[in-house]
């Protein structure tokens, strides 16, 4: 239940079996996709509570809409499309509140200097990610963290390929520019 590696393959028969009412198949889908979904949601919304809410809500929606899932469609983009929408809705809902990044347990403090540097790096990555426009963040996470093909990201976001490539590039540019300073400090 802890495998968050991108590209964790889904048995293509699972969604179809779940659609036919096989609860065990749905449980397996959850087992495979929950960790990745939680990771994506956490990076999108920035706190565990909302991320959990988005993921739980997504899987409930998936379950109730399995009847609409086309037999020839791919499950992963379909799930991420629902999840991305939920994340966007939650972010919109929380927009008026101050941005507080709560990535669960903070790594141990007081470690050796190298660990401290790594912590600074990690915090800086989160900080920059939180400042990216939501559409850039979404495209970057799907491409570089979830390893999705641009065609699948297009299915998730409903945006054309060239626009998606531009979003990912811009996100990379910002990350490079701002993180280069951290690397220099190291």
């Amino acid at each position: 239940m802890t495998d968050t590696r991108p590209g964790t393959s889904i048995d293509p028969t699972l969604p179809l079996r779940a659609k036919a009412g096989d609860r065990q198949a749905f449980a397996q889908l959850v087992d495979v996709m929950y960790p990745r979904s939680l990771r994506f949601a956490l990076h999108m919304v920035g706190n565990r509570e909302d991320a959990e809410e988005a993921v739980q809500d997504t899987f409930v929606r998936v379950y109730h809409n399995l009847g609409r899932f086309r037999d020839d469609a791919r499950f992963e983009p379909w799930l991420f499309r629902i999840l991305a929408n939920r994340c966007r809705s939650l972010m919109e809902k929380r927009r008026r509140h101050a941005v507080v990044i709560q990535y669960g347990e903070v790594p141990e403090r007081g470690g050796p200097p190298a660990a401290e540097t790594e912590r600074d790096w990690t915090e800086e990555v989160y900080r920059i990610l939180a400042t990216l426009p939501v559409e850039q963040k979404e495209a970057f996470l799907l491409r570089h963290v979830e390893d999705m093909a641009y065609e699948d990201i297009a299915a998730v976001t409903g945006v054309g390929l060239s626009a998606l490539r531009m979003r990912v590039k811009r996100a990379c540019d910002v990350l490079r520019a701002r993180l280069s300073e951290v690397i220099r400090d190291e």
């Binding site: 802890t2 968050t4 609860r23 009847g67 086309r70 669960g104 347990e105 990555v125 990379c172």
Partner: protein, 200 residues
């Protein structure tokens, strides 16, 4: 693109993939499956409509189907609600803000058990017992006494702290305390009630 920036993005990717807090809590997963599996099955009409949704419908056709689905959904919802047994652990009364009454035993200090009274209004019940983390959720271990008014009550000494409990009515139905706040239960998907016990 130079090698440096690619390595940098690669490092970002590793950082985000291994971010803390992304390991799922098995309780939340269990809770999800519980919620999903305990929800009503889609009606036959809903499945039929789902199956026929994909073929390209005209705008009018889609509107008609949507109308039928809405109407069917409305009817089905009513039918499901009527069929459903009362929710286990559903509150049976309004939230009054009155929590289980506690009697101080402060002379023994902060850790001394505090006599705490629990009350349930259920004139129709034949038997009521209190179950919670303080009695290992043992059914029948802490029976309540019925007063003439139909109110059931028991007072038990509890160690200070936060306790989760429920009432077991007629050995089968678990109900929360309508006078107390609720506590979620990711393990078993059944809400409980909460009492904070302390020497006053």
């Amino acid at each position: 693109m130079s090698e440096g920036p690619d390595l940098l993005i690669e490092r970002v990717r590793s950082t985000l993939r291994e971010a803390p807090g992304t390991v799922p809590d098995p309780r939340r997963v269990a809770q999800l499956l519980s919620v999903v599996w305990e929800s009503p099955e889609p009606s036959a009409l809903r499945r039929w409509l789902d199956a026929w949704r994909v073929p390209s419908l005209s705008g009018v056709g889609a509107t008609v189907v949507a109308g039928i689905a809405l109407f069917a959904g409305f009817l089905t919802r009513g039918a499901v609600d009527e069929r459903r047994a009362p929710e286990p652990f559903a509150a049976t009364g309004s939230q009054t803000g009155e929590f289980p009454v506690q009697f101080a035993s402060a002379t023994l200090g902060e850790t001394a058990p505090v006599l705490t009274q629990f009350v349930l209004d259920d004139a129709k019940a034949q038997r009521v017992s209190l179950v919670g983390d303080f009695n290992d959720w043992a059914a029948g271990a802490t029976p309540l006494t019925r007063l003439e008014s139909g109110v059931w009550t028991v007072s038990v000494p509890l160690p200070p702290g936060r306790h989760v409990y429920a009432f077991l009515v007629d050995d089968t139905l678990l109900v929360t305390d309508p006078r107390a706040p609720k506590s979620g239960d990711a393990d078993y998907g059944r809400e409980g009630s909460v009492v904070m016990v302390f020497a006053r």
